[in-house]
Symmetry: C2
Subunit: 327 residues, 2 copies
């Protein structure tokens, strides 16, 4: 089943109004969810929306809360997300980082007490649309065993790096685990093996069997010990810069995952000399890949397809969201 | 064979004086090499020194050149490394990023036209010693095939992330390839298989045979497609920020590898509130690993051992460096 972008946006917007969002915020929050499906990241759009509503119901997400600046040091600011909706908080934080970068060349917003930002790539596209180079990352609940342990002591801490390119931005949006639990479930339900090793089985052997990894709770960090170190440092950097919680302090129940720490870092390429050639630099680098797909390329293809043909939605989730009741 | 830190430092210093370094620069450059061996990174200390001398001989490295600031935008500066010694250029760039961060909360130096920085971790330790959180990365010559290609179109672009911690800094220093060529050679010469898949063999099958990967020239990026994207974005970010060359423009001959682009990013944790607790945050996070080794932990152990027992040196390379002739 496919629906138009407008219909998806409108349906989500109406649901958000019912649970207490004010107009402008409902519109933007719904748009961020709808754009996620439009771009083919189906795990973090409509399909994630019921869990988002449940977190509102539980009081984990406060629909009316906005971030406030708690410390400002030139190009670096600390904000408190006050448990507001994660995508609105993240969007506003990247906007502020962009603003700081226009004044100082580089701008950084470190955000604490925020919620799941849904699709991290959104904030990379946002920055690249503004002509900026950007990095952002978040910590998460503990869901990834470090190399050398069978217990999920680290988060899979998604990292986003975005570079603007008029012919199509280059946007990397990756968790530090080789496969998310969502991806493992998708392979399992299709009856497929993983294309590469994805974790350990219950006996501690590396395996390409998605169900075995789900069962053991031992997915692999990318690059084995390397991704394990990367996840740790991203968490430390987020917690230290934001003055917020680290992964080990975040409740392991996905419905209770909250008070995350995030970092938004923007570089104003427009202030640099030879910016008229930045587009050429980006084009040249993409061309040097000799046709190998770059991060963001497929996103753009899916976006065009979905805008033309409508956006695929799961009929059950679609019905459920349509019937969202007034709080 | 082991020598004291002082003897190693002095021998390298004397060699550098012979090839035209002035006093202060010889001392610092030699110290950075010696500290690399002291910390157990034997691939990038003394053993790398003869290649460094050869690059000086060829005119790839200009012993007398220092970086100059070419653009300043608040907290972001572009510097030109003018083909100076890579470790001196990198050290000075991180120093400048730290200085900027003390004024602006965050500071970034993007450096072009520089040479191999030798051990990237050095600049992470430097920042952490100053109480800062830091990121730095470099592009390299093309030595890594992107996921989906058999040709080395990407660099393995080492990334360093460092967080200060009084009981021992946490310093991640990782190339984006699963194993460096140096590591592959080491496994091969010990007659060992790789602990995990490290690349493709000549028939395009994933393999744990180090010699097969050396032969095919197809080492793996960490996390397969994920590290491939990460390497690309680190290169784009470095080239765009520094206004310098990208990997595909750097000569593939290791002796001619030059005009690299690098980024040094420092965050002044001391300016943030609750800094007295930053040490506790870092300690808490390390403790949450339940004894799993953190990046930098082993470095510190080896450092103590080597300072006590002397630093292992390869006798042939040691003799060769001792006999460095006046230019």
């Amino acid at each position: 089943m496919r629906v138009s972008f407008e219909e998806l946006h409108e349906t989500l917007r109406r649901a958000l109004l019912k649970v207490g969002f004010e107009q402008g915020r409902a519109d933007l929050c719904a748009r961020l969810f709808a754009e996620t499906d439009r771009d083919g990241v189906y795990t973090h759009g409509l399909n994630r929306f019921p869990r988002f509503l449940e977190q509102i119901e539980r009081g984990v997400v406060d629909v009316n809360a906005s971030p406030v600046c708690v410390e400002a040091h030139g190009a670096l600011e600390r904000w408190d997300g006050r448990s507001g909706p994660g995508n609105l908080n993240a969007r506003q934080s990247m906007e502020r980082a962009l603003e700081l970068s226009r004044r100082q060349g580089v701008g950084c917003v470190a955000l604490r007490n925020t919620n799941h930002w849904m699709r991290g790539g959104s904030y990379g596209w946002q920055a690249a649309d503004a002509g900026a180079l950007a990095f952002c990352w978040t910590n998460t609940l503990p869901n990834l065993p470090p190399w050398g342990s069978a217990r999920p002591l680290l988060g899979n801490n998604p990292l986003v790096i975005a570079a603007p390119r008029p012919a199509g931005h280059v946007v990397l949006d990756m968790a530090v685990s080789q496969f998310s639990y969502g991806a493992l479930a998708a392979y399992r339900s299709r009856g497929e093996r993983l294309p590469v090793v994805g974790g350990f089985d219950a006996e501690g052997r590396l395996t390409q069997d998605p169900a075995a990894v789900e069962e053991s709770g031992r997915p692999l960090p990318i690059g084995f010990w390397k991704g394990s170190g990367l996840a740790l440092l991203l968490d430390m950097a987020a917690a230290l810069l934001a003055g917020g919680l680290a992964t080990h302090q975040i409740p392991p129940d996905p419905l209770e995952e909250t008070r995350l720490s995030q970092v938004f870092l923007a570089f104003d390429l427009n202030s640099l000399e030879g910016t008229e050639t930045a587009a050429h630099v980006a084009d040249d680098i993409v061309a040097s890949l000799e046709g190998v797909r770059y991060p963001g390329e497929r996103t753009l293809q899916i976006r065009l397809e979905n805008m033309e043909q409508g956006i695929p939605v799961n009929p059950e989730v679609w019905e459920q969201v349509k019937q969202t009741r007034e709080r």
